[in-house]
Amino acid sequence: MKLVIIDYGAGNIKSIQFAFNRLGYEAILSKNPEEIKTADKVIFPGVGEASSAMKMLKESGLDTLIPTLKQPVLGICLGMQLMCLHTEEGDTKGLGIFQTKVKRFSQNVKVPQMGWNVIKELKSDLFKGIKENEYMYLVHSYYAEHCDETIAATDYEINYASALQHENFYGTQFHPEKSGNEGAKILQNFLTL
Protein backbone atom coordinates (compact mmCIF):
# COMPACT_ATOMS: atom_id res chain seq x y z
CA MET A 1 0.00 0.00 0.00
CA LYS A 2 1.22 3.46 -0.89
CA LEU A 3 0.51 5.82 1.96
CA VAL A 4 1.36 9.50 1.54
CA ILE A 5 1.34 12.22 4.21
CA ILE A 6 1.03 15.62 2.54
CA ASP A 7 4.07 17.61 3.62
CA TYR A 8 3.37 21.29 3.02
CA GLY A 9 5.39 22.62 5.91
CA ALA A 10 2.70 22.50 8.56
CA GLY A 11 2.88 20.80 11.86
CA ASN A 12 4.19 17.80 13.62
CA ILE A 13 3.99 15.18 10.89
CA LYS A 14 6.61 12.91 12.44
CA SER A 15 4.05 11.72 14.98
CA ILE A 16 1.68 10.63 12.23
CA GLN A 17 4.44 8.89 10.34
CA PHE A 18 5.55 7.06 13.49
CA ALA A 19 1.96 6.06 14.30
CA PHE A 20 1.72 4.29 10.94
CA ASN A 21 5.13 2.72 11.47
CA ARG A 22 3.82 1.23 14.70
CA LEU A 23 1.02 -0.35 12.67
CA GLY A 24 3.60 -1.79 10.31
CA TYR A 25 3.19 0.68 7.42
CA GLU A 26 5.70 2.99 5.82
CA ALA A 27 4.27 6.44 5.12
CA ILE A 28 5.92 8.75 2.59
CA LEU A 29 6.11 12.51 3.23
CA SER A 30 5.52 14.42 0.03
CA LYS A 31 4.15 17.56 -1.57
CA ASN A 32 4.68 16.24 -5.08
CA PRO A 33 1.26 16.19 -6.85
CA GLU A 34 2.11 13.01 -8.82
CA GLU A 35 3.15 11.21 -5.68
CA ILE A 36 -0.04 12.27 -3.91
CA LYS A 37 -2.31 11.43 -6.86
CA THR A 38 -0.95 7.90 -7.15
CA ALA A 39 -1.20 7.11 -3.42
CA ASP A 40 -3.68 4.52 -2.15
CA LYS A 41 -4.34 6.58 0.93
CA VAL A 42 -3.58 10.22 1.70
CA ILE A 43 -3.17 11.93 5.06
CA PHE A 44 -3.66 15.69 5.22
CA PRO A 45 -2.15 16.88 8.50
CA GLY A 46 -2.00 20.34 9.96
CA VAL A 47 -1.05 22.05 13.14
CA GLY A 48 -0.64 25.77 13.42
CA GLU A 49 -2.51 28.75 12.07
CA ALA A 50 -5.14 28.41 9.32
CA SER A 51 -4.38 31.34 7.02
CA SER A 52 -0.64 30.62 6.87
CA ALA A 53 -1.31 26.90 6.33
CA MET A 54 -3.68 27.77 3.47
CA LYS A 55 -1.07 30.09 2.02
CA MET A 56 1.44 27.24 1.99
CA LEU A 57 -1.09 24.96 0.31
CA LYS A 58 -1.72 27.55 -2.39
CA GLU A 59 1.97 28.10 -3.01
CA SER A 60 2.38 24.43 -3.84
CA GLY A 61 -0.89 24.18 -5.78
CA LEU A 62 -2.20 21.60 -3.33
CA ASP A 63 -5.36 23.62 -2.68
CA THR A 64 -6.67 22.67 -6.12
CA LEU A 65 -5.28 19.13 -6.09
CA ILE A 66 -6.71 17.91 -2.77
CA PRO A 67 -10.44 18.33 -3.62
CA THR A 68 -9.92 16.27 -6.82
CA LEU A 69 -8.44 13.24 -5.08
CA LYS A 70 -10.39 10.00 -5.50
CA GLN A 71 -8.73 7.75 -2.91
CA PRO A 72 -9.51 7.93 0.82
CA VAL A 73 -8.13 11.14 2.30
CA LEU A 74 -7.90 11.78 6.04
CA GLY A 75 -7.54 15.33 7.31
CA ILE A 76 -6.34 15.64 10.88
CA CYS A 77 -6.94 18.64 13.18
CA LEU A 78 -6.23 21.79 11.15
CA GLY A 79 -6.20 19.54 8.06
CA MET A 80 -9.85 18.75 8.70
CA GLN A 81 -10.69 22.40 9.36
CA LEU A 82 -9.08 23.50 6.10
CA MET A 83 -11.32 21.01 4.26
CA CYS A 84 -14.39 22.96 5.44
CA LEU A 85 -15.99 25.98 3.72
CA HIS A 86 -14.47 28.67 5.89
CA THR A 87 -12.69 29.17 9.19
CA GLU A 88 -12.81 32.20 11.45
CA GLU A 89 -9.11 31.73 12.11
CA GLY A 90 -7.50 34.45 9.98
CA ASP A 91 -10.88 34.70 8.13
CA THR A 92 -9.71 31.92 5.82
CA LYS A 93 -11.60 30.37 2.92
CA GLY A 94 -11.31 26.58 3.07
CA LEU A 95 -11.19 23.88 0.40
CA GLY A 96 -14.98 23.51 0.55
CA ILE A 97 -15.05 19.71 0.77
CA PHE A 98 -17.11 19.59 3.96
CA GLN A 99 -20.21 21.78 3.91
CA THR A 100 -19.67 23.37 7.28
CA LYS A 101 -17.93 26.32 8.88
CA VAL A 102 -15.26 26.55 11.53
CA LYS A 103 -15.73 28.91 14.48
CA ARG A 104 -13.82 29.91 17.57
CA PHE A 105 -14.82 28.71 21.04
CA SER A 106 -16.08 31.59 23.16
CA GLN A 107 -14.46 32.98 26.29
CA ASN A 108 -16.88 30.94 28.41
CA VAL A 109 -14.51 28.00 28.21
CA LYS A 110 -10.75 27.66 28.33
CA VAL A 111 -9.21 27.99 24.90
CA PRO A 112 -7.55 25.91 23.51
CA GLN A 113 -9.50 22.86 24.50
CA MET A 114 -6.56 20.71 25.45
CA GLY A 115 -6.69 17.09 26.49
CA TRP A 116 -8.90 14.03 26.30
CA ASN A 117 -12.59 14.27 25.53
CA VAL A 118 -15.11 11.72 24.27
CA ILE A 119 -16.38 11.16 20.75
CA LYS A 120 -19.97 9.98 20.31
CA GLU A 121 -22.75 9.50 17.75
CA LEU A 122 -20.19 7.53 15.73
CA LYS A 123 -21.33 6.90 12.21
CA SER A 124 -18.62 5.59 9.92
CA ASP A 125 -16.48 2.53 9.20
CA LEU A 126 -13.63 4.75 10.30
CA PHE A 127 -14.84 3.99 13.85
CA LYS A 128 -15.29 0.25 13.45
CA GLY A 129 -14.53 -1.38 16.81
CA ILE A 130 -14.50 1.99 18.61
CA LYS A 131 -17.09 2.30 21.34
CA GLU A 132 -19.35 5.28 21.88
CA ASN A 133 -17.82 7.81 24.26
CA GLU A 134 -14.27 6.67 23.63
CA TYR A 135 -11.59 9.18 24.70
CA MET A 136 -9.52 10.95 22.07
CA TYR A 137 -6.81 13.62 22.40
CA LEU A 138 -7.75 17.08 21.17
CA VAL A 139 -5.95 20.40 21.01
CA HIS A 140 -7.85 23.17 19.29
CA SER A 141 -9.29 26.66 19.61
CA TYR A 142 -11.68 26.42 16.65
CA TYR A 143 -14.38 23.84 15.98
CA ALA A 144 -16.41 22.65 12.98
CA GLU A 145 -20.15 23.22 13.30
CA HIS A 146 -22.43 20.23 13.32
CA CYS A 147 -23.73 19.32 9.83
CA ASP A 148 -25.08 16.40 7.75
CA GLU A 149 -21.53 15.19 7.24
CA THR A 150 -20.80 14.82 10.96
CA ILE A 151 -19.63 11.27 11.75
CA ALA A 152 -18.57 11.95 15.35
CA ALA A 153 -19.57 14.62 17.84
CA THR A 154 -17.95 16.04 20.95
CA ASP A 155 -19.16 18.43 23.65
CA TYR A 156 -17.07 21.40 24.66
CA GLU A 157 -19.13 24.52 25.25
CA ILE A 158 -21.43 23.20 22.51
CA ASN A 159 -21.96 19.96 20.61
CA TYR A 160 -19.69 20.14 17.56
CA ALA A 161 -18.39 17.90 14.75
CA SER A 162 -15.23 16.13 15.91
CA ALA A 163 -15.16 14.06 12.71
CA LEU A 164 -16.59 14.60 9.23
CA GLN A 165 -17.01 12.56 6.07
CA HIS A 166 -17.90 13.45 2.51
CA GLU A 167 -17.55 10.61 0.02
CA ASN A 168 -13.85 9.60 0.07
CA PHE A 169 -12.88 12.50 2.35
CA TYR A 170 -12.60 12.04 6.09
CA GLY A 171 -11.57 14.45 8.78
CA THR A 172 -10.92 14.17 12.51
CA GLN A 173 -10.54 17.10 14.86
CA PHE A 174 -8.81 14.84 17.36
CA HIS A 175 -5.36 13.36 16.91
CA PRO A 176 -5.69 9.60 16.37
CA GLU A 177 -1.89 9.38 16.27
CA LYS A 178 -1.75 10.66 19.86
CA SER A 179 -4.85 8.95 21.21
CA GLY A 180 -3.34 5.76 22.54
CA ASN A 181 -4.38 2.32 21.33
CA GLU A 182 -7.91 3.39 20.38
CA GLY A 183 -6.55 6.16 18.18
CA ALA A 184 -4.29 3.61 16.49
CA LYS A 185 -7.38 1.52 15.70
CA ILE A 186 -8.87 4.46 13.83
CA LEU A 187 -5.74 4.82 11.72
CA GLN A 188 -5.85 1.09 11.05
CA ASN A 189 -9.51 1.40 10.03
CA PHE A 190 -8.62 4.22 7.65
CA LEU A 191 -6.09 1.98 5.93
CA THR A 192 -8.73 -0.66 5.29
CA LEU A 193 -11.37 1.74 3.87
Partner: protein, 251 residues
Protein backbone atom coordinates in the same frame (compact mmCIF):
# COMPACT_ATOMS: atom_id res chain seq x y z
CA UNK B 1 -16.59 16.26 28.92
CA UNK B 2 -13.00 17.31 28.72
CA UNK B 3 -11.16 15.30 31.36
CA UNK B 4 -8.64 16.39 33.97
CA UNK B 5 -5.16 15.26 33.01
CA UNK B 6 -2.58 13.33 35.02
CA UNK B 7 0.97 14.09 33.91
CA UNK B 8 4.09 12.31 35.17
CA UNK B 9 7.24 14.40 34.85
CA UNK B 10 10.55 12.74 34.01
CA UNK B 11 13.88 14.42 34.63
CA UNK B 12 16.37 13.72 31.86
CA UNK B 13 20.14 13.95 31.96
CA UNK B 14 22.22 12.99 28.94
CA UNK B 15 19.23 11.26 27.41
CA UNK B 16 18.54 9.13 30.51
CA UNK B 17 15.96 9.37 33.27
CA UNK B 18 17.67 10.52 36.43
CA UNK B 19 15.33 10.58 39.38
CA UNK B 20 15.12 7.08 40.71
CA UNK B 21 12.17 5.14 39.52
CA UNK B 22 10.83 2.04 41.11
CA UNK B 23 8.78 0.11 38.62
CA UNK B 24 9.10 -3.57 39.29
CA UNK B 25 8.37 -4.64 35.75
CA UNK B 26 10.81 -2.30 34.07
CA UNK B 27 14.00 -3.73 32.61
CA UNK B 28 15.80 -0.40 32.45
CA UNK B 29 14.39 2.35 34.65
CA UNK B 30 16.83 4.83 33.15
CA UNK B 31 15.46 4.40 29.66
CA UNK B 32 13.02 7.25 29.01
CA UNK B 33 11.35 5.37 26.17
CA UNK B 34 10.57 2.31 28.24
CA UNK B 35 9.38 4.42 31.13
CA UNK B 36 7.20 6.54 28.85
CA UNK B 37 5.61 3.46 27.31
CA UNK B 38 4.92 2.08 30.75
CA UNK B 39 3.26 5.31 31.84
CA UNK B 40 1.16 5.38 28.67
CA UNK B 41 -0.03 1.85 29.48
CA UNK B 42 -0.83 2.89 33.06
CA UNK B 43 -3.15 5.59 31.77
CA UNK B 44 -1.02 8.74 32.02
CA UNK B 45 -2.67 11.39 29.86
CA UNK B 46 0.52 13.16 28.84
CA UNK B 47 4.18 13.18 29.75
CA UNK B 48 6.66 15.94 30.47
CA UNK B 49 10.38 15.46 29.95
CA UNK B 50 12.51 17.99 31.71
CA UNK B 51 16.08 18.16 30.44
CA UNK B 52 18.09 19.13 33.49
CA UNK B 53 21.45 19.13 31.76
CA UNK B 54 20.55 21.39 28.88
CA UNK B 55 24.13 21.99 27.84
CA UNK B 56 24.91 22.22 24.16
CA UNK B 57 26.37 18.72 24.07
CA UNK B 58 23.37 17.26 25.85
CA UNK B 59 21.02 18.93 23.40
CA UNK B 60 21.80 16.50 20.59
CA UNK B 61 21.28 13.56 22.96
CA UNK B 62 17.94 14.97 24.02
CA UNK B 63 16.87 15.44 20.41
CA UNK B 64 17.65 11.82 19.78
CA UNK B 65 15.71 10.78 22.87
CA UNK B 66 12.71 12.83 21.70
CA UNK B 67 12.79 11.01 18.39
CA UNK B 68 12.80 7.62 20.10
CA UNK B 69 9.95 8.59 22.42
CA UNK B 70 7.89 9.87 19.48
CA UNK B 71 8.55 6.63 17.60
CA UNK B 72 7.20 4.44 20.35
CA UNK B 73 4.80 6.38 22.54
CA UNK B 74 1.23 7.09 21.45
CA UNK B 75 0.26 9.82 23.91
CA UNK B 76 1.31 13.51 23.79
CA UNK B 77 4.49 14.72 25.42
CA UNK B 78 6.15 18.02 26.28
CA UNK B 79 9.87 18.71 26.38
CA UNK B 80 11.35 21.44 28.58
CA UNK B 81 14.67 22.60 29.97
CA UNK B 82 17.13 25.09 28.53
CA UNK B 83 15.01 26.04 25.52
CA UNK B 84 15.60 29.61 24.40
CA UNK B 85 15.37 29.80 20.61
CA UNK B 86 12.91 29.26 17.77
CA UNK B 87 15.44 26.98 16.05
CA UNK B 88 15.72 24.72 19.07
CA UNK B 89 11.94 24.42 19.31
CA UNK B 90 11.74 23.72 15.58
CA UNK B 91 14.20 20.83 16.00
CA UNK B 92 12.30 19.41 18.99
CA UNK B 93 8.93 19.57 17.21
CA UNK B 94 10.40 18.09 14.03
CA UNK B 95 11.65 15.18 16.10
CA UNK B 96 8.13 14.55 17.30
CA UNK B 97 7.64 16.53 20.53
CA UNK B 98 4.05 17.76 20.78
CA UNK B 99 4.76 20.75 22.98
CA UNK B 100 7.71 22.57 24.46
CA UNK B 101 7.91 24.25 27.80
CA UNK B 102 9.91 27.44 28.31
CA UNK B 103 10.66 29.08 31.62
CA UNK B 104 13.60 31.43 32.40
CA UNK B 105 14.17 32.20 28.72
CA UNK B 106 10.68 33.66 28.48
CA UNK B 107 11.31 35.94 31.45
CA UNK B 108 14.61 37.09 29.97
CA UNK B 109 13.06 37.68 26.54
CA UNK B 110 9.25 37.66 26.63
CA UNK B 111 9.06 38.08 22.83
CA UNK B 112 10.10 34.44 22.59
CA UNK B 113 6.54 33.46 23.57
CA UNK B 114 5.12 35.49 20.65
CA UNK B 115 7.68 34.11 18.24
CA UNK B 116 6.93 30.50 19.17
CA UNK B 117 3.16 30.99 19.14
CA UNK B 118 3.27 32.73 15.75
CA UNK B 119 5.49 30.13 14.16
CA UNK B 120 4.22 26.90 15.70
CA UNK B 121 0.84 27.81 17.21
CA UNK B 122 -0.15 28.43 20.82
CA UNK B 123 -1.11 24.79 21.28
CA UNK B 124 2.53 23.74 21.56
CA UNK B 125 3.77 26.57 23.78
CA UNK B 126 3.72 25.80 27.49
CA UNK B 127 5.09 28.51 29.75
CA UNK B 128 6.43 27.06 32.98
CA UNK B 129 6.49 29.41 35.94
CA UNK B 130 8.28 28.71 39.22
CA UNK B 131 7.05 31.01 41.94
CA UNK B 132 7.38 31.42 45.66
CA UNK B 133 4.98 33.11 48.05
CA UNK B 134 6.89 35.65 50.12
CA UNK B 135 4.94 37.76 52.63
CA UNK B 136 1.70 37.07 50.81
CA UNK B 137 3.02 37.92 47.34
CA UNK B 138 3.85 35.35 44.69
CA UNK B 139 7.20 36.14 43.06
CA UNK B 140 8.54 34.44 39.94
CA UNK B 141 11.89 32.67 40.34
CA UNK B 142 14.36 31.72 37.63
CA UNK B 143 16.88 29.01 36.87
CA UNK B 144 15.07 26.17 38.54
CA UNK B 145 13.85 28.42 41.32
CA UNK B 146 17.29 29.59 42.42
CA UNK B 147 17.09 33.24 41.34
CA UNK B 148 14.29 35.42 42.76
CA UNK B 149 12.77 38.24 40.72
CA UNK B 150 10.34 41.03 41.52
CA UNK B 151 7.90 39.74 38.91
CA UNK B 152 4.41 38.96 40.17
CA UNK B 153 3.14 35.48 39.27
CA UNK B 154 -0.34 36.57 38.20
CA UNK B 155 0.83 39.52 36.13
CA UNK B 156 3.42 37.38 34.40
CA UNK B 157 0.91 34.60 33.71
CA UNK B 158 -1.50 37.10 32.16
CA UNK B 159 1.27 38.59 30.08
CA UNK B 160 2.34 35.24 28.62
CA UNK B 161 -1.29 34.35 27.88
CA UNK B 162 -1.59 37.60 25.91
CA UNK B 163 1.67 36.82 24.14
CA UNK B 164 0.28 33.50 22.96
CA UNK B 165 1.07 30.81 25.53
CA UNK B 166 -1.27 27.85 25.16
CA UNK B 167 -0.87 26.59 28.70
CA UNK B 168 0.69 27.49 32.06
CA UNK B 169 2.67 25.01 34.13
CA UNK B 170 2.80 26.57 37.58
CA UNK B 171 5.17 25.13 40.18
CA UNK B 172 4.86 26.44 43.70
CA UNK B 173 8.28 26.42 45.32
CA UNK B 174 6.61 26.60 48.72
CA UNK B 175 4.94 23.28 48.02
CA UNK B 176 7.41 21.50 45.73
CA UNK B 177 8.99 18.51 47.47
CA UNK B 178 6.82 18.82 50.59
CA UNK B 179 4.22 16.22 49.60
CA UNK B 180 1.77 18.43 51.47
CA UNK B 181 -0.57 19.27 48.59
CA UNK B 182 -0.67 21.73 45.68
CA UNK B 183 -0.85 25.55 45.94
CA UNK B 184 -4.59 25.52 45.37
CA UNK B 185 -5.39 29.10 46.28
CA UNK B 186 -2.91 30.49 43.76
CA UNK B 187 -3.93 27.87 41.21
CA UNK B 188 -7.61 28.76 41.52
CA UNK B 189 -6.78 32.44 41.07
CA UNK B 190 -4.77 31.66 37.94
CA UNK B 191 -7.63 29.60 36.57
CA UNK B 192 -10.10 32.41 37.23
CA UNK B 193 -7.96 35.18 35.81
CA UNK B 194 -6.70 33.33 32.74
CA UNK B 195 -8.52 31.59 29.93
CA UNK B 196 -5.92 28.94 29.08
CA UNK B 197 -5.38 25.58 30.80
CA UNK B 198 -3.39 25.54 34.06
CA UNK B 199 -1.19 22.61 35.08
CA UNK B 200 -0.61 22.27 38.82
CA UNK B 201 2.86 21.24 39.92
CA UNK B 202 4.61 20.86 43.26
CA UNK B 203 3.32 19.22 46.40
CA UNK B 204 1.63 15.99 45.32
CA UNK B 205 1.78 13.51 48.18
CA UNK B 206 -1.48 11.59 48.21
CA UNK B 207 -4.71 11.05 46.29
CA UNK B 208 -6.58 13.71 48.24
CA UNK B 209 -4.10 16.32 46.99
CA UNK B 210 -5.13 15.56 43.42
CA UNK B 211 -8.82 15.70 44.30
CA UNK B 212 -8.24 19.07 45.99
CA UNK B 213 -6.29 20.62 43.14
CA UNK B 214 -8.97 19.66 40.61
CA UNK B 215 -11.80 20.96 42.79
CA UNK B 216 -10.50 23.71 45.11
CA UNK B 217 -7.54 24.57 42.87
CA UNK B 218 -9.61 24.44 39.64
CA UNK B 219 -6.56 22.99 37.86
CA UNK B 220 -6.94 21.47 34.42
CA UNK B 221 -4.08 19.04 34.88
CA UNK B 222 -1.77 17.89 37.66
CA UNK B 223 1.88 17.07 37.29
CA UNK B 224 3.98 15.01 39.67
CA UNK B 225 7.18 13.02 39.71
CA UNK B 226 8.22 10.99 42.72
CA UNK B 227 4.76 9.82 43.83
CA UNK B 228 4.41 8.21 40.43
CA UNK B 229 8.00 7.05 39.93
CA UNK B 230 8.15 5.25 43.25
CA UNK B 231 4.73 3.72 42.82
CA UNK B 232 3.37 5.53 45.89
CA UNK B 233 0.32 6.49 43.87
CA UNK B 234 -0.38 4.11 40.98
CA UNK B 235 -2.04 6.12 38.20
CA UNK B 236 -4.89 3.63 37.59
CA UNK B 237 -5.83 3.75 41.30
CA UNK B 238 -5.58 7.52 41.36
CA UNK B 239 -7.91 7.86 38.38
CA UNK B 240 -10.46 5.47 39.88
CA UNK B 241 -10.50 7.54 43.08
CA UNK B 242 -10.89 10.77 41.13
CA UNK B 243 -13.80 9.25 39.21
CA UNK B 244 -15.42 8.25 42.52
CA UNK B 245 -15.24 11.90 43.51
CA UNK B 246 -17.04 12.89 40.32
CA UNK B 247 -13.92 14.27 38.68
CA UNK B 248 -13.89 13.51 34.96
CA UNK B 249 -10.87 11.41 34.01
CA UNK B 250 -10.00 9.10 31.15
CA UNK B 251 -10.23 5.53 32.37
Amino acid sequence: MLTKRIIPCLDIKNGRTVKGVNFVDLRDAGDPVELAKQYADYGADELVFLDITATLEARATTLEMVLHVAEQVNIPFTVGGGISSVEHVDALLKNGADKVSINSSAVKRPELVNELADKFGSQCVVVAIDAKEIDGAWKVHLAGGTIPTEIDLFEWAKEVEERGAGEILFTSMNHDGTKGGFANKALARLSEELNIPIIASGGAGNVQHFIDTFTIGKSDAALAASVFHFGEIPIPDLKKELKKHNIEVRL
